[in-house]
Amino acid sequence: MARPADRRPGFSRRAQYGIFTGYVIAVAGFLAGAGLLVVSIVNPQAFSSVRGAASELARPAGEAGAETRAAGQGVIAAIGAYFQAGRQNAALTREVAAARANALTMQALEGENRRLKALLGIVDPAVKPVTAARLIGSTSASTRRFAVLSAGTLQGVRAGQPVRSAAGLIGRVIETAPGTARVLLVTDPENVVPVRRVRDGLPAFVEGKSDGRIAIRLLNMGVNPLKMGDVFVTSGSGGLYPPGIPVAVVTQVLHDGGTGHLASDPAEVDFVLVLPVFQPAAVAALGASQQAAGPAPEPSEAGGSN
């Protein structure tokens, strides 16, 4: 097939000027884009208001999609349950018997725990979630991992607040608009979460790998004590994330740490909870010290760099 030849302007001066102007605008657009890029890399929050307005516009579509997702998962789960009903019933009966025994032990432990805490004078502040919302969108084509939340400043969501689902940590809020907010997912490489191993409190931090998995890095060097299946929860250090939220399960042990899968896949959750910042004073102090020390060479552990 021959190339369509409709770009030839002939002798029309107007058409010639039109084509020339097109080139000028295209090259100017390229240069303007490069300028915008430099601005947004130097100051990532520069265009947050425009992005916020844009996600406000797309919010109805995202909410419809989130409802479709929940309904679709329900249908698939129902069909799967039908096929496995008999086997599942037997397995669940066994599990319930075991769980009942466990629950009694847990109740006893809980009572003891409360008593000991009362003795020591520790007051547990009851963490009341800011709001519950749906994830209505995500950057599924980019290597940066953001999601859009269907709640914003009107519901009390502020930048820096952690977001969790029933199963585990999702990320933290980085930009807010009146009715939507942008969440930096745990799998984004900029998101660094201080964690500890559930079994023995081994301190570590997890860092997103942006391919759906996360890297687990240990604070103490030496013999790698990680095992497959180790569960890591947030440790509360840094003051941003409340302690005890499941983050990752180790799936691969490397020589200086490990690779893990998320405890809570954002694709499977229906509703997420936005929690208040665990220790606002600590986060503020860290931010102030960072400002005094100048720009950090790499994202800080508490994630206060935004």
Partner: protein, 190 residues
Amino acid sequence: MPFPRLADLQSLPIRPEDIVPQRINRAPSPLLASGLPWLSVMVTSLAAFSPVIASAPVVPPLAFMVFLSWRMLRPSLLPLWAGLPLGAFDDLYSGQPFGSGVVLWSAAMLAMDAIDNRILWRSFEQDWAVASLLMTLYLVLAAAIAGLAAGYPLPLVIGPQLLVTLALYPLVTRAIALLDRIRLLPLRSV
């Protein structure tokens, strides 16, 4: 062995032309004829607001593919500077640092112009090859820019996404060809 051609597949049972029975004294609606390419690219930019909440980059850059398909199918329909507004719109939703789409889409338009000036003949395989080259560059550069913005060299995780993108491109061109027929439906009476 030649590539399997989409043109060899059976055509759709309902053709868009059948929607409008009367063709005499009718012309395409100017709004649809010139607005549909812009609208289709912008709608696919909104693919981020789909039910899929991905924890890894898995979805191909559909908006860029649609943009490239329109440019391949109708070289003069989108003006040379179309990358500026459409790329900026895509940046609002793609999660890339703002400006990355503007730069890459404008560069893609200029590159397509240079390629069109150099290559006199067009064919399916050649269009696919050129699009593959541009889409690969787009994905790699977008990942590099995102890594720069994250202040952390991103691991190369775009492999699966790249393969899906290259394989899906002919289907996208097919869909755009269908949209092109809808675009030129004679809806307006003259």
